[in-house]
Structure formats: structure tokens, C-alpha cells
Amino acid sequence: MYRTQEGMGIWEHRGKVAAVGIGHAPTARRWDDRPETSVGAWAILAIRKAMEDAGVTPDQVDGLVLPPDTTTGSYWPEGRQVPADFRNAFKQTGDPLDGIAKLSADWILANMPELKNVKWARHATTCTSMAMAGAIQAVGDGLTHTCLVVKGWHNFSGRYYQGGANALPTVAGPGKYGSSLAGPASYATAMQFQRYCHKYGKNHDMMAPFMVNSRRNGLLFPEGYWAQHRPEALTVADYINARWVAKPANLFDNDIPIHTAAAYVITTAERAKDMRQKPVYVLNHAGAGTPGGATSAGVRARSVIANLEEVEACAAATGRKLLDGAGITSGDVAFENMYDGFSLFHVFHIEGLGFAGIKRGEALDLFQTDISIEGPNPVSPSGGNIGGGRTRFWNHTDSIQQIQGRAGARQIRIPAEIGISGGFFPMWSNFVIWSATPD
């Protein structure tokens, strides 16, 4: 399913697969315990909107890919009963938390009987981009001709990752060598960024224009969390004075966990011609990882923790795979929506791609130039996770909408002919190169 090797040549389905529909549920900071706002309910809502957006009827859909994992880092409290009104509102699968704290293909199909022709359903690993790349390859391979990509996120009340194993006096498993000595999920990226600053003579303050730009773009994203709930601009001072989580990663460098869902319709270029929206063609998909069928694991670090050089090597290899498989150069990429949650590794992603002609050590310099949607090198016009909340899907929505010319207030001023989106970590990623034309 996944293109993780170098030297694979032009993607065999280049220009033969297209995105044609997008659907978003609302966003919330946390689930409010009502059945109709559960992650399952919102996934159904997003799917219906995506089909309507594409002009596809449910019976035309024959494929479904989703990551069954929906957690933002919050887990269903042990011993808490599943609310009766949820059980009454939806058909259940074998797992009582399905539709609340996870989301299986079986749950979607049981609760959407109108999707009666889905013959190909798969669970992808953890991330929107894994599901997206899997669906794209499956459509290219002819396993499905009209495929839904779905990603739901649940967020419950309470702090994240507290309690459980983290509260114990002892530690077992792989964490005993690494994570038990640091703690925050952003530590590794922060440590790599620290080395980056040391190596190239940069500093954390140089991230500020990127962060301000991302929030600005996020506030222009009507579906985003900040736009819907906290329409506040982020200033340079807000950013550089924010409290640290794992210095040099501060509060804003860590994306905010939210509760929401999105869906996409992926189909063949042939079928896309007759659908409602302008098709957005896929020139290639590729990334870093260790694939196994429909799943993909990250590239393993050489030792306890990946160093900057390993990250840079993976990001550069991903850039080569992406461009080579699409038959383009980095100069052809008009805008980039590479992943940003954590913000600091956005630097590594775009240097790997060579966006706007940058080389290693130059991303922070690029951020000091005009990276706005009005400028010559639109960086993260979606606003990403930083501007919209933790979903790993704003970037795909924006890329598709930019090329369709319906990104609204976020529409970039230069022609949106080719763009890129995907995530997540430099050593565990899937990206898509999108194009206005199939050739």
C-alpha cells in the first residue's frame, strides 16, 4: 500500500486517482457526552457531507479506509459505563467503546446501511495520511473505485497521559530506556530542534513568524477549532513568552487536542470527471516507514532516541521519493501543507522536500520572508494543526481546496497548480502530491 522505498520511479497510477469530496464535522474541545456528538456520530456526519460535496450517492461508494484509533491522548476512564443513550442511538459492534473511544469500519457500516456496496474496507495505522495514502493506492490498484477516507478524533475531559503507567514507581517495556526519563511527547522533537539550532546557528524565536502565520491561516479555516471557538490572533510576543513544555518546545509548539471528524472521497480520474467538484489529481504518494500490508510502522531509530541526522536523512529521502515518483521538481510545488504538530519538525519536513529552494538549515530563514498566502511561497496555508487543532487533516482539506480554487479567504494568490500535504513524523510519514491536472 505504501511507497516507502527509494528508486521506485514514477508512480504507476500517476494522475489516475483524484480527490473529489470533503466533509467536516464541527469541532469541540471535548466530547459533551451526547450521542449525536460522539466521534462515531461526527464521522457519519463528515461522511455524508463528503459524499454530498462530491455529488456521490452512498450506493456508489465501494471502499472505506480509516484509522480505528481516535484518541488524542485521552482514554475512556476504566470502569465508566458507556452511556445508555449512546447504546440506544447506535448499533453496537463487539466492542462497547466503538463509536465513542475508537471507530471501526464495522461500526461505520453497521450505522450507515446506505453504504450497502462497500466491498473493500481497511483499517489504516493511526493517522489521516496513512488512510489517505492507502485509499489512493487502493483506487489506483482497482481494489475500490470510489473510496471514503475517514478520520475521527475523540477528546474527553481530564489531562492527557496522566495516571496509569506514568504514575507508577517502576517502569517496564521500551519506555525504561527513553520516555520514562523525559515524559512529554514533544521531547524528542524538541531535543532534535535544539541540536538543529546548535548545528546551524539558529534559535527558537525564529519560529515565531511561522506560528503567527499558521494561526492566521487557521483563523481563516471555518472548520477549524481556533476559528470556531477562540478566534484570537497569535502575536510574536504571545509565542515567545508562552510557557515551556519541553524546552525548546513551548505550549504553542504542541498542538491542542480536539474532538472532531473529517471524511474524503477518493476516486478514479475517469469517474471524477462526472462528479460535482473539480478533480484534484494525485501525482504521487510516498513517505517514511516500515510498511506491512495496510499498516505502516515508523522507521526505527538507530538507538534509544533518533538524532537530528537520522531525522534529516529520512525527511530528505521522503522528499526524493515524493518528487521522483511524481516526476516533478521541488520548484513545481506551489504550496506546502506538511505536518506541523509538533510545529518544530515542520522545519525538517520542508527542508527534506526542498520547498522554495531551501536546503538544510535554511527553513527558519525562509520563515523570516513572506510565507503568507499572499506571498510567493505559501507555507502551511491550511494553518495546520497549529492553526486548527490536532487532526492531521486540515492540511489535506486545504490542499484539495486550494487546487479547486475554493479555499475561500485562505486562497493563495499564486496559481495553486501543485501542492503537498501529509504527515506525521519525519521518520513515520505519508505525503500526497496533489495537482490541478493529471499530467
Binding site: Y160, R243, V245, V304
Partner: protein, 137 residues
């Protein structure tokens, strides 16, 4: 600085037993001439289990990079926030790194590239000793 006590398992017991004897040992594949850490059942490079041995190293190293943790979910560390977490590259085990709280180094005054020497610390949970590093004087 008190931290969670590692619980040894069948695979890595030689590593933790050596720590209790204040020796640092790392898996080494005699076929590949290559160290690997954390421990694995087989060599990452050639897949051999038979050629894997535990080899003692000096523990001398250098500080590769670091972060300063202000907001950890790990209860045992919360009382010491903010604290340094450095990545140590070992001098006589190429490619191998380990993590350290750098006892004695003030918060956020971590000298990247500086040499460090190995010490051992007793952890409170079960008494297991763990490797730690100090900036060399």
C-alpha cells in the same frame, strides 16, 4: 534525581544486573562488529541471536543535545521540574545513545559537545541502579 525504577525482563536482565554491579554493558554482534541498544532478541543488522554478546564499555561520552522538561506526565519526575534531559553519545559504542538528567548541571546550562563520565544512581522504586552521567571536570 529520583526516577522510575526499571523492571528487568528476560531480554535485558544482563544489562540491568550489570548496572547493579556498576558496569555498563551493551549488546554487540560479533558477526557485524556492531553495537545495538536498547537490547533486542536478534541483531538488527544480520538477524543473528547466536552472535550477540554483552560487551562492557567505559561509559565515557559526549552531550549530543538536550531539552528541559517543564511539564511531564510522569509522577516520579514532577517534583524536580524543570529538569534537564540530555542525550549522551557513547565514545566506545558508535551509534549508541542514552538519556541522562545530568546531575550537577544547572537547568538549561547544558554544554552540547562536552565530555561526560558515567556514574550509577539507585532508583527508589525497587533499588535498581541506573546509568547516569556528569559533565567531566
Amino acid at each position: 534525581m529520583p526516577k522510575q525504577s526499571p523492571v528487568a525482563d528476560d531480554l535485558d536482565r544482563p544489562f540491568w544486573d550489570a548496572c547493579n554491579a556498576e558496569r555498563l554493558v551493551i549488546q554487540h554482534c560479533n558477526a557485524c562488529g556492531r553495537f545495538q541498544h536498547p537490547p533486542q532478541p536478534v541483531c538488527d543488522s544480520c538477524g543473528s541471536a547466536a552472535q550477540l554478546v554483552w560487551r562492557e564499555v567505559s561509559g565515557r561520552g559526549t552531550i549530543y543535545s538536550y531539552g528541559v522538561v517543564y511539564d511531564t506526565p510522569i509522577s516520579a519526575l514532577q517534583g524536580d521540574q524543570p529538569y534537564n534531559v540530555a542525550v549522551i553519545e557513547l565514545a566506545d559504542a558508535p551509534g549508541i545513545n542514552m538519556m541522562s538528567h545530568l546531575p550537577g548541571t544547572p537547568v538549561d546550562e547544558v554544554p552540547i559537545g562536552a565530555p561526560v563520565t558515567l556514574i550509577f544512581e539507585v532508583t527508589p522504586g525497587n533499588g535498581q541502579k541506573v546509568p547516569e552521567w556528569r559533565v567531566a571536570r
